[in-house]
Amino acid sequence: MWCSVTPGTRPRLRLAAAAACSLALLTGCAAGASSEPDTAHADRQGPTVIGTDASAESRVTAALYRELLTDAGQPVRMSTTGYASPAATARAVVAGRIGLAPAYESTLLRTFPDGGTLPGNMPATLSMALPTGIDALPPAAAEHGVVLAVTRATARRHALHSLADLAGAGRRLTLGGSASGDPDAPTPSSLRKAYGVTLSGAGTSANADVLALRSTDPVITRDRLVVLTDPECVIPPEHVFPLIQAPDAGLAARKALARVNAALTTDQLAALASAVDAGRSPAATARTWLRSRGLLG
């Protein structure tokens, strides 16, 4: 299901041909304005440069993109710059320093907050946030967002399946977890507003009753935690998708990158990231996984 993006009116993005041209002056690409101000050209003139942040998720997703594009015959190379965060990587794509990077929906909207929003329609909202020459290609099933999880014992004791069930817990539960400070993490106040539940904040404590965790956190699998569903969409969506310069996004590249979307679930991304965290190279991890699913030609 698609969760809604935050409703609200923001200043409308204004486009200009000049902006389009300056944006497309990336490594390996050239852009220019014609004499008619409403048209511009932009050609890919070298390999597609893929950038990542330091996280295992980003590195292995970028490796998937690299394998898929190479398989489709598109020259690629990895950026030598390591970016500090997904926001920094997204800015690098928009600024034309790199051609492609894994991006996350709500993180991107926080990074580029000046577009309009259409509640419930993420593709529209991403389209409005991005300038001319930058494409948000369709997302994978995988999310890199925050989830709220409880132990199996807690879930059984209070019959917890969704965040709404927390209202019937019978006692005040605590809310903590390693992702509690994340911008995507719900607060006790937002949960009270959406679900009428009252939780006590417990900082980032790993011993809280309800844990805010990254959806790819290996502790979810290791400790067999129960992830609570979020029918009111309090937690913003963070599906992973290719943020790409239009000159790098030809038909063959789009088809190649889309091949991974159904197979790359949150569980699969978590497993791939765990393998990279354990010391395997992102490239080898990505190649093995793609081959095992018949996603390489």
Binding site: A33, H41, A42, D43, T132, G133, A246, P247, G250
Partner: protein, 184 residues
Amino acid sequence: MAAPQASAADSPTTKELLDACSWADLCEFHATDYWTYTGPKHQVGSTAYNCASQTNQHRIDWADTTGSTNTFGISISAEYKWFEVFTVGVSTTYSHSWEASHTDTESNTVNIPAGYKGWIERGTAKQQAKGWYEIHFGKRFYGHYIWYVNNYQSSGFNKDNPNTGYVNFKDAPMTSGERAAHCN
């Protein structure tokens, strides 16, 4: 780095680029803005004149066509591939359907007081979208593989929410000239 400049001779026109949508490798419309509004007030159907000495009912038949227009002044037809790409882009992005041309046909019965004229005013429910076209070519087109058409803005009938417009009955006393023209 300075952007490479193209001269007028080696640059396609906006229309050439839009027409190329029908044969290019890839043609996409990326909406960046969408809004709805009520179009300008205009009369639909003819004016009815009540020359009788009591209030009478008059039937006014009308048909009103709302075409799609764009800021480039390029004519729009449903057969054009670039218009189809636009409608797909807007439908995908905003879940709103779009027609090249829409005609409403109605008959309204209005009560016109004695010695008055009556007519119908309409403000049509309209929608507007703005965005950019991304067009990829397999071979160089005017020297380049990829062209953008920026700032494309188009308005048309708001098929999904037609009730956001209005139809109002208006009346006013006939002038002596109108009485002479229509009541003798």
